[in-house]
Amino acid sequence: MNLFQEAIAWLADPAHWTGPSGIPVRTLQHLGLTAFALVVAAVLALPAGVLIGHTRRGAGVVGGLSGAARALPTLGLLTLFGLALGIGVAAPLVALIVLAIPSLLAGAYAGVQAVDPAIPAAAKAIGFAPTQVILRVELPLSLPVMVGGIRAATLQVVSTATLAAYTADAGLGRYLFAGLKTRDYPQMLAGALLVVVLTLVLELVLAACQRAAARRFAHPGAARASRPKPRIDSD
């Protein structure tokens, strides 16, 4: 346990909490990389997934893509983009975006696809336009599953953002690689603990979001029953 004491001592050192390579800056870089990659991937993948789920066409592509993504070594993706784009944050960002897409796509597709087809059909019958069916019926009902996909993608991206430090001077992974190079085990261990804590906090927050989405949207009947009055009255 002596190693952990040294790592805690490293973490407690105020010198490691200031400046451009301090823990707050590194953490923000890490979260920034994660957020940027997720937003870009979500803009690309979520609409595509919803559309595939809505038309129920192209499901094979989604399945194949998520299977292939599982087999693809993330380090391979990172080093290939690193060689193509050079040292810097561009390579890890592109790699992270590519990594996030399959989970997001699968989540959005599975969510919409799992909606009982009678519900969008009923919405269409009472005069909803196709975009309204998607935005006001299928999207809310698919939210719990979709949030699950977002959760999986976020975890993968925040984990892999650690490897970004292999090709760029960014993120909490920097402590791991700097420690590896100089054989500074306390620094490495401290960095590892920081990444793990950050990831587990995100995991718990997102799991709570998923439960909240499931409570709000998955059982519309139950939710309506628990509310004091149906909205139809006021209209």
């Binding site: 952990f4 087999a71 984990s159 650690t162 791991l176 590896l180 590892a192």
Partner: protein, 213 residues
């Protein structure tokens, strides 16, 4: 495409290293996850916290885990033991849920019938529960196999030799063909092992094959 041709001996020996790390981890995952999964399926009160713990364990990033494990286990950082332990943690975390699903899906009436015809608890597990759980278990093992093969490459970052070495070495020396060889040979190995698991699954469930033909 001259790099893989000129260096095929190195690729083969790294692929062997890759298997020496991944196959034991996959086997350990199966041996540990099957009983835990069955416990989770039979006793949900113990099972559901176990399953949450598994999903939390799966969320731990790989490289930090490789660095934390030596401090916990006292194994050397750059070692087979650390690598196999890390891979087994992910394998168990991933497989426990499908094992719980597999045993949960066994028809309760079939189990009652087996008890009624005189199966002892141990016989019930080996001759009723386990065979009936095999198809779902196999699909879980396939996922674990593929993700383990791909995860082994992370070990190259701390200096554990595998096909991942081609990735770090190719990157540092700026040889794109070497990195491509690393990526493609890892994918190929994952595909081969996946096919092997699928084949073993077919052999273990001859009744399925007969029903289909």
């Amino acid at each position: 495409m001259s790099w893989p041709v000129a260096n095929w001996e190195r690729v083969v020996s790294l692929a062997a290293d890759h298997l020496v790390l991944s196959v034991p981890a996959i086997l350990i995952s199966i041996v540990l996850a099957v009983p835990i999964g069955r416990l989770a399926a039979r006793r949900p009160r113990i099972g559901s916290p176990l399953l949450s713990l598994a999903s939390l364990a799966y969320a731990i990033p790989a490289l930090p885990l490789l660095i934390i494990l030596p401090a916990l286990l006292g194994t050397p950082l750059r070692s087979w033991q650390t690598m196999v332990a890390a891979l087994s943690i992910y394998g168990v975390a991933l497989l426990v849920r499908s094992a719980a699903d597999a045993f949960g899906a066994v028809d309760a009436e079939l189990r009652d019938a087996a008890v009624a015809t005189g199966f002892a608890p141990r016989g019930l597990f080996w001759r009723v529960d386990l065979p009936l759980a095999v198809p779902v278990l196999v699909s879980g093992v396939r996922v674990v196999t593929v993700s383990t093969i791909s995860l082994v490459t992370i070990g190259a970052l701390v200096g554990v030799s595998s096909l991942g070495t081609l990735l770090t070495d190719g990157f540092q020396r700026g040889i794109a063909a070497e990195v491509w060889t690393g990526v493609l040979s890892t994918l190929l190995l994952a595909l081969l092992l996946d096919a092997l698991v699928l084949g073993i699954g077919r052999l273990l469930t001859p009744w399925n094959r007969r029903a289909r033909s």
